[in-house]
C-alpha cells in the first residue's frame, strides 16, 4: 500500500494548482464564489470558464493530445478531480460534451461527426446536454418512448425528455429515441445528435426545491435529425449509451473529495458555533456525531481509492462504482443535514439572510437529489446485489 504520487503526478498537480490560482474568477479562492443567477449571465460565466479551461489545456484532460486534450492517465485525472474539489471550482458547463459525448464520438463516431463536433466541444463553442430520462422512464430508462421516424432523409423526433441538465444553455443534445418497437425494450433505441436551436425543440425550466434552475423539460415536436446525426448503429442506441457511460472514468470522485472537504468545514462550523456559551465541538453528543461522520467520510474516500486501485490493476472499472455512488450520495445528505442541525433555529434563514453561510441551505436542499439522480439509491442497491453479490434479479415482470 502506498498513498504517494510519483514526481510526475505531483508536477501535474502543481501545474494545475498554479493554473487555478491564476485563472479562477476573482475572489473565488477566498470563498467569494458567485455565479450569476440569470440565464444570460450564467451562460456567459460558464462559457468563459469553459474557454479558460480549454485555453489552459485543462478541458478534456483525458482526451488524446491530437484533439487538444492532455492525454492524462487515470491517476492524473483523479488528481485533477482532487484539485478541482479542493478549490470548489465552477462546474464545467460542457461536462456532458467533454466527459462523454466527445470521447464517444472519438471512439465510434464517423469522421464527419468528429470533424463537425469534437473541437467545438472542447473549446466550449457548443454546449451539450443529454436527452435520456422521460416522464415515464426514470429508473426504468429503457422504457423510453420518444420516437424517431424516418421520413425521406430526415428523422422526425417526437416526445418529451425531462431532467435535462443545462438544456436551457445547450446547443446540442445527445438524445436517445425509439426507432423500432419490437417489445424488447433495450432494442430499437437509437442515439441521435440533435440541434437544440430548431423549431421542434422547446425547453421548459424545472424549478427545483432549492429554488434553482438546472434541470429542464425538453419537448420534441417534429424535431429533425439527419442520418449523419446517428451515433453507432440504428436500433443499437442502448449499447451506444453504455459506451458513453464507460467514459465516465473517475465516477463520483469529485463528490467524494468534496465531501471530505465539506466535512472539514463542518468541524469548523462546530468549532465556531456556540450553545450555552460553549463551542458545539465541546459537546460530547456533537463529538459523537462528528466522529461517526469522520469515520464514514474517510471510509468512503478510502473505498474509492481501493476501487481505483482495482480499476488500474484490471484496466477497467468494476461495478463497485455503484458502491461509491450509493455511499457518497447518502453520506452527502447526512453531512449537509447535520450541518443544518448544528446551526440551531436560525437554520431556517437562507439566501441573503442566511445566518452562517447561504451555501449550507442550498447544499442541504440540493443534496436531496443526490440519491435520485444518476440512478436512485434503490437502483444502486440492486446493482450491488445483482452484479457484485450475485443475488437474484428483481422479477422481470
Amino acid at each position: 500500500m502506498d498513498f504517494s504520487f510519483t514526481t510526475e503526478e505531483e508536477k501535474f498537480r502543481d501545474e494545475l494548482r498554479q493554473w487555478l490560482v491564476d485563472n479562477l474568477p476573482d475572489g473565488w479562492l477566498e470563498g467569494n464564489r458567485v455565479i450569476p443567477r440569470d440565464n444570460e449571465g450564467q451562460r456567459r460565466f460558464f462559457k468563459d470558464w469553459q474557454r479558460k479551461l480549454f485555453d489552459g489545456g485543462w478541458s478534456g484532460i483525458s482526451w488524446p493530445k491530437e484533439y487538444g486534450g492532455k492525454g492524462a492517465s487515470l491517476l492524473e485525472e483523479v488528481i485533477y478531480e482532487q484539485e478541482m474539489a479542493r478549490v470548489k471550482a465552477p462546474p464545467q458547463i460542457n461536462v456532458i460534451g467533454v466527459a462523454m459525448v466527445g470521447p464517444t464520438l472519438l471512439q465510434i463516431g464517423t469522421d464527419e461527426q468528429k470533424d463537425k463536433y469534437v473541437n467545438k466541444i472542447l473549446n466550449g463553442e457548443e454546449i451539450w446536454c443529454q436527452g435520456y430520462s422521460e416522464p415515464n422512464s426514470g429508473s426504468d430508462l429503457a422504457a423510453l418512448q420518444t420516437s424517431a421516424v424516418k421520413k425521406g432523409d430526415k428523422w422526425i423526433i417526437n416526445g418529451q425528455k425531462i431532467w435535462t441538465s443545462m438544456a436551457h444553455l445547450a446547443d446540442k443534445c445527445f438524445l436517445l429515441a425509439r426507432t423500432e418497437n419490437t417489445g424488447k425494450k433495450h432494442h430499437g433505441i437509437t442515439a441521435f445528435l440533435v440541434d437544440m436551436h430548431q423549431e421542434g425543440v422547446e425547453t421548459k425550466p424545472i424549478r427545483s426545491i432549492d429554488d434553482q434552475h438546472i434541470f429542464n423539460e425538453v419537448f420534441l415536436n417534429d424535431a429533425v435529425a439527419y442520418e449523419a446525426d446517428i451515433v453507432g448503429e440504428i436500433n443499437e442506441g442502448w449499447k451506444v449509451s453504455l459506451t458513453l457511460l464507460s467514459h465516465e472514468r473517475t465516477g463520483v470522485a469529485r463528490q467524494i473529495f468534496e465531501l471530505n472537504q465539506v466535512f472539514d468545514e463542518l468541524v469548523e462550523l462546530a468549532s465556531t458555533l456556540k450553545k450555552n456559551g460553549r463551542p458545539l465541538i465541546e459537546n460530547p453528543i456533537v463529538r459523537q456525531d462528528i466522529g461517526r461522520l469522520r469515520a464514514k467520510s474517510r471510509g468512503l474516500l478510502l473505498n474509492y481509492y481501493r476501487n481505483l486501485t482495482n480499476s488500474i490493476r484490471n484496466g477497467y472499472p468494476g461495478p463497485e462504482g455503484s458502491m461509491d455512488k450509493l455511499g457518497g450520495s447518502e453520506l452527502g445528505q447526512e453531512i449537509y443535514s447535520y450541518a443544518m442541525s448544528l446551526q440551531g433555529s436560525v437554520n431556517t434563514l437562507w439566501k441573503e439572510d442566511a445566518a452562517v453561510g447561504e451555501e449550507w441551505q442550498y447544499d442541504y436542499l440540493r443534496s436531496k437529489a443526490f440519491t435520485i439522480e444518476g440512478g436512485t439509491s434503490e437502483i444502486q442497491r440492486n446493482i450491488v446485489a445483482e452484479r457484485i453479490l450475485g443475488l437474484p434479479k428483481d422479477i422481470k415482470y
Partner: protein, 385 residues
Amino acid sequence: MEFALNEEQQLFQRQTQQIIKSKGDLEIPRAYSEGKEEVLDDLWTGLAELGYMGITVSESYGGLGMGPLTLVPILEEMGRAVIPGPYIETVSFAAPLLEKYGSTEQKEKYLTELATGERKFSLALLEGNGEYAPSNINVRATEKGNEYVLSGEKILVAHADFVDTLIVPVRTGMSEQDISLLLVDRDSTTLQLEKQISMDETRKMVKVTFNDVAVPKSQLLGQENAGWELLEIGVRGLNAALCSNMVGGMERIVETATEYANTRVQFGQPIGRFQAVKHKIVEMKMNLETGRSLSYYAGWALENNTEDVVEAIAMARSLITEAFIKSANDNVQIHGGMGFTWEFDCHFFLKRAKTLENYLGSPEDYREEIVNALVSDKESVAVGR
C-alpha cells in the same frame, strides 16, 4: 380506559378538514409562499367565524373553554396542509398564558378580542444566534416612570407582520433569569419589521427591532422578573401544539407517498410493489402512529396537568421532530425526481420539518429533559400500571 379522540374531537377534525379543503388545501401554503398573503386573511376569517380562535378561551370571555386536547385534531388537520399563520402562537400559547397569568384588564381586552379572531398573537422570543435560553434574552426593558423602554432586536418572529400583539420576553434585571413578559401591541407602538427569508416560506419570519419603544407597565404579563418561568409554561402548550401539527404533516406524507407508490409505474409495476419502497412507507406509518400516540398523550397530560407533563411533551417533541424530518426526506425519495421539484408539494413538508428541528430546543435537548424527569421521579405515572 379509552385512548382515542372522542366524538366532539372527531367532529372538529371533520369540520377543519372541510374548511381547509374548501379554502384550497395545499394550495394555501403554495399561494402564501408565492406572495399571495391574502389567503391567510381569508382562512383566518373563516376559522374565526366558526369560533376556532376561542376554543381555549374561557366562556366568560366569549370562548369555548376547552382544553388543549380539543386542539389536537384541528392542529393535525392544519399540519396536513402545511397551513401558514399564527394559529398555534395565538391559541396554544397566548390564550392559555393570558388565562392563567393575565390581569383582569388584560384578560378583558385581549382574550375577548382573541376569541373573536380580531386579535392575533405571536411570540417574539429569539435573538442573536437563535438559542432558546434565558442568557440569550438581551432586549432590554428600562423602567421610565410608568413605562418600559425597549431596545434591541428579536429574530424569527413568526408572522409578526400579520399579528396584532407580540408577547416579548425582555430583560428587566441583572441576573440571568430576570426576564419579564410584555404584551406589545403593534398599533400603539412603532416597531421596525423586516422580513427574513425563510427556507420554510409558509412560516413568515420577521426581524423585529425595538428602538426605544415605550410600553406601559400595565402591559406586563405576570410578575416582573418571573417571565422565564411563565414562558416555559407557555412553551409547553406551544410544543404540544407543534407536535400535533407535525403529526398531521406526517400523516399527509404517508398518504401521498402511498398514493404515488400505487400509481407511479416503473418496470411495468407500481413502485409500491418493490419492498424498498413499500417498507419505507411502512416505516413512515410506524413513526406516524407512534408520534400520534405520543402527541395525544402530551395533550392529555397538558390538559390534566399531570405530574409527567414535561416528560410527556419532551417525549413527543423529540421523537416527532426527528420522525417528521425522516418521513419528509423519504417522501422526496419515493417521489423520485418529481419530489425534487417546486411544483410538487413534497418540499413544503421537508422545509417545515427541517426548520422546526431546533425551534425552541433540539431533539437532544428534549431527550435530556426526558431523562431529567425520569431520574428525578422514577415512578411511572398516569398510564395505569
